[in-house]
Symmetry: C2
Subunit: 144 residues, 2 copies
């Protein structure tokens, strides 16, 4: 198929394809906890940031999405008892987000899953090669 030649010569399409693959594998692992990709990232963020204060707007910035999107995910996580909203004592409009004990356990599992998928790719490609591409793809990510 000649289209395949075209696609294989296109870095952006390869990146796109790889990302889809990554998401598919990841959400397979996250499915056990009924989490989507963004929810998983939120849990990871709260885990890594602890004990620093995290607010919804910061998450929206970090993950390049809208506040509405974050808010929906937070609500879903909160409904399952994984995270907690507390009114910011310094600004009553804002919330401080925190992991609840169960959420902490889930976060650890999630981070493990992300690492596992990552290691799977590393095995196929070689860790050094993956690291060498990192700078470039990061540059791409920043060049937005």
């Amino acid at each position: 198929m000649r289209i395949e030649a075209f696609l294989q010569q296109s870095p952006m399409f390869c990146i796109h394809h790889t990302a889809r693959r990554f998401e598919a594998l990841t959400s397979q692992l996250l499915g056990a906890d009924e989490l989507n990709f963004l929810e998983a990232l939120i849990l990871a963020a709260l885990f890594f940031e602890h004990p620093a204060v995290v607010k919804p707007s910061q998450l929206a910035d970090t993950f390049a999405t809208t506040r509405g999107n974050i808010s929906h995910c937070i609500s879903s996580l909160e409904a399952r008892g994984l995270v907690q909203r507390r009114v910011d004592p310094a600004d009553a409009r804002a919330y401080q987000l925190a992991l609840k004990p169960q959420g902490r356990k889930t976060a650890i599992r999630v981070i493990g899953s992300l690492d596992k998928v990552q290691r799977g790719f590393e095995e196929k490609v070689g860790k050094l090669h993956l690291q060498s591409a990192l700078r470039l793809v990061r540059a791409l990510a920043d060049a937005s």
Copy 2:
């Protein structure tokens, strides 16, 4: 934010992020033709494969999606007079897909758009660097 350090050290997340960026920029350009990403790829595929015969199932394989998904997109493209379904004379269950004249024009425009986004990234990162990463990301794409 410590989560950002984690994300920047994760090749897969960087790829994910880059891919999202790529899709956003691309669909901005495709929006003029009211095409989504997959529809654009289908048009490109039919353009590059011509005059070879292309069937829905092949497209599903090439783009790693379901036949149902392809079928919906084909219907949308057909409704707009861009592509045509012909019953395969060798197998009455199958269809042969072909670009109609208007679809051909659109395909050329679409391929131009994809190239344009690509060149935009190349400018930011440098074509040589992009090419050097291609082999690696392709390996990642294949490692599925």
